[in-house]
Amino acid sequence: MNKVLYIGGVDNYLRENMSRKIGFNKKISRREAISTAGKIAISAVVAGVVAGVGGYYAGSAAAAPTTVERTVTHTVTAAERTVTTTVTAPGATVTVTAPAATVTVTKTVAAPVAARPYEGVKLTVLCHTGVQAGPWHAYKEDIKNLYGIDLEVVEAPPEELYSKGLLGLKSKPADYDLVQFNSAWIGDFEPYLQPLDEYVQKADPGWGDVLPGFRLFRNMWAGKIYSWTLDGDTFMFYYRKDLFDHPEEKEEFRKRYGYELGPPKTWDQVRDIAEFFTRKAGDRLAGSKLLKDFYGYADQAKRGRVYYWYLFRWIPYRAAEEGGIPHYFDPDTMKPLINTPASVKALEAMRDILKFSPPGVLGFEWTELFTAAMSDSVIAMWIHWPDEGDRFQDKLQPLPVENPPKPQLGFAPVPGVEKDGRLYRYTPVDTCWELGIAKNSKNPEAAYAVLYFLMRPDNALERVMAPTAKVPSSNHDPYAYSQFYSPRWRAEKPWVGPFLDAELEALKNPYPLLRIPGGFEYLDALDLAVSECLAGAKDAKSALDEAAAKWEEITDRLGRERQKEFYHKMWMVPLVF
């Protein structure tokens, strides 16, 4: 962007539009108009002065010492070596009978400082705010010691990461050298991100170690490496194992439904089990009396998030319909495939199960679902990110009955759909969070050094194991084999082993979420349709038809051919001419 031209453009606009602006107000006389225009000119000069002063101010503000308490700064001390030299006191008088004194002098000699490769380089990283920024603050000092890099950590809430990131990346030089971003935005971020292939060839922190689901469907784009996984977000199916294992319940279920009670493989089974377990306070559950109303199943059904939970059904329903990979668009025509008969059935099934969910489910965000399921313990089954399994298992409270069994959390892959004897079952790989390097960065090599440092197996393990002594918080989930099979993790936290096994098993069938430009807009349209249907404002078919119409409109607006190209890049399918 040619800044000089642009600001000139603004001046022109001011001059052009002044007259239009004045035209609104008939009361100003011509004389006043001229004097006002003159004042504008004066003001432009004054504004320039203000800017100059402001620039000075900016300089001093930037130099002002900050009072951020998080980091403890200590200067890097060069290694000290103690040198003991015995110095004989110079004494010419030989006649002195006293023996020559031996003096031990300790002289500190600075050992030569190992040259730090990026001494003095200043880099900025944009990351997710709060606990997720933990690793950055934990490693800031180590990065300084090892590389000489001064790392500035800028935090932003997740929704704003998109806008702040994009604005920052587009600038030259980029405002951020490293960005944490959602790989669903890769279509929009691609022009401003540095492909990492060459760097990885020279210094590989473990490319093959990353699970294929993350490697292919998140880190890569159009055959190149554009980012590295920070947080291995995916989805798991959770259920109350203490409830499912109860002999009385198992017996009752078998009698009523004709098959064994266990973690459901299909969505039809989910419905059965949900129906079975939805009971009122006073009924019997797990062998004793219920103290609160209990519900079989719950989604995170709040507007803005609910599309995930719809996709968990859409993917297998559509896969069964297709007999194979369910596409979001027809790869040849880019026709949206979200309102096919199976899609409609999926949404209807989702609405149907609402009657087995708590009344506030349409307002459930992450915390509400977690609290209802783990603390209030009033949900039998739910689907969520890996946090319950890899970090918060100890927060599971006992069932709300008079004599609760010992609380136990069960995990399984997200259910699928069975058709013609074949089970179509996928684990959706969420697109967040990735770490990328800005193309416009003033020092991409230094930035890569930081990325390498964070993604090294030892540091990466520390990160996903957090809270640990080194990294007090992170909320990052595992994504690499060395983490899943880590002996240290499984030894330090014995309860995590079964979960990691279950997640590994689930990730054998990964499925990507939509990652083309405008990804958020497409998904938001779908989200709105689902939300309206669940709220009862529309029936499934018309809601999805409208969403499909919106998808067409978005595709046309962004350029159908361009979107097709991106959609192919997402699947790495060669463009057919």
Binding site: E32, Y57, T66, T124, V131, P157, E368, K395
Partner: protein, 265 residues
């Protein structure tokens, strides 16, 4: 009668302050227990981790918020008052210019955000107090001008006219005569400008990085799994404390202004 009034006021205070009390409770309770039924009026489990977390992070944004909100308020009043006087007495710009200038508030926040981002980036003013102050003035200055104008329109001109005839300059008239009368409006404008700037989130977020960010940006940053209720509550309470101190201080001003206005007749 007195008793009835006291009871009514007590009820109003109770309802108004109850959410604040709940904030305190929430900030001391582990997040996973906040939404459990039945709601607990005293924390089931005490934890100070949120206060530690918020407390260790809030000094810098506090300083920034004070500087930014204070400057925005001072400038809005200092510049807006004379400008409104002009608009009111000399009919500059007619009656609609002030309103047009006010209208900018209704654009979805993103639009001025991007405008300012581009401008300040060009000027090298990103992540400075000045940038946020100017961005805030976008809202508070027009409002101040408009508000002062409305108040000043209602003030009869006889006093000024008498003083002018006696040979005072306009500046003297403004400061000696109009200002004391308009003190209540100044208090209101200052209150509004300050609280608006103090609470403003979006521009502060976009225009700052790690040096100049304000309290609302800090509080919003406490969102995120596991931190949300306690962190946000502790952060909010911490940012309320200086605001309340200022409000108590201001309140004396407000009362002083009001009594002066009453004496005027």
């Amino acid at each position: 009668m007195e008793v009835a009034k006291i009871i009514l006021v007590a009820i109003i205070l109770l309802i108004t302050l109850f959410p604040i009390y709940w904030m305190i409770i929430t900030s001391l309770e582990p997040w996973e227990l906040v939404l459990v039924w039945p709601p607990a009026f005293l924390p089931r489990q005490l934890t100070i981790e949120y206060w530690e977390w918020a407390g260790s992070r809030f000094l810098l944004p506090l300083r920034n918020s004070l500087i930014i909100a204070g400057s925005t308020t001072a400038i809005s009043v200092a510049l807006g008052f004379p400008a409104a006087y002009s608009f009111s007495r000399f009919r500059i710009g007619g009656t609609t210019l002030p309103f047009w200038v006010l209208s900018l508030r209704f654009l979805p926040g993103i639009v001025p955000c991007v405008a300012f981002y581009i401008l300040f980036r060009f000027l090298g003013l990103l992540d400075t107090h000045l940038a946020v102050i100017i961005a805030h003035l976008l809202i508070t200055l027009p409002f101040s001008v408009w508000m002062f104008k409305v108040f000043l329109d209602a003030v009869p001109r006889d006093l000024e006219e008498a003083a002018l005839v006696d040979g005072c300059t306009y500046s003297q008239v403004l400061i000696r005569i109009i200002l004391p009368i308009a003190l209540p409006s100044i208090a209101v404008v200052a209150l509004f400008s300050f609280t608006w700037s103090w609470n403003e989130f979006m521009m502060a977020l976009i225009l700052t990085k790690s040096q100049a960010y304000t309290l609302p940006v800090m509080i919003a940053g406490f969102r995120g799994a596991g931190m949300i209720w306690g962190g946000v509550s502790a952060g909010a309470l911490l940012s309320l404390i200086p605001a309340i101190i200022l409000a108590i201080f201001f309140q004396r001003y407000l009362v002083a202004g009001l009594t002066m206005g009453a004496v005027k007749g």
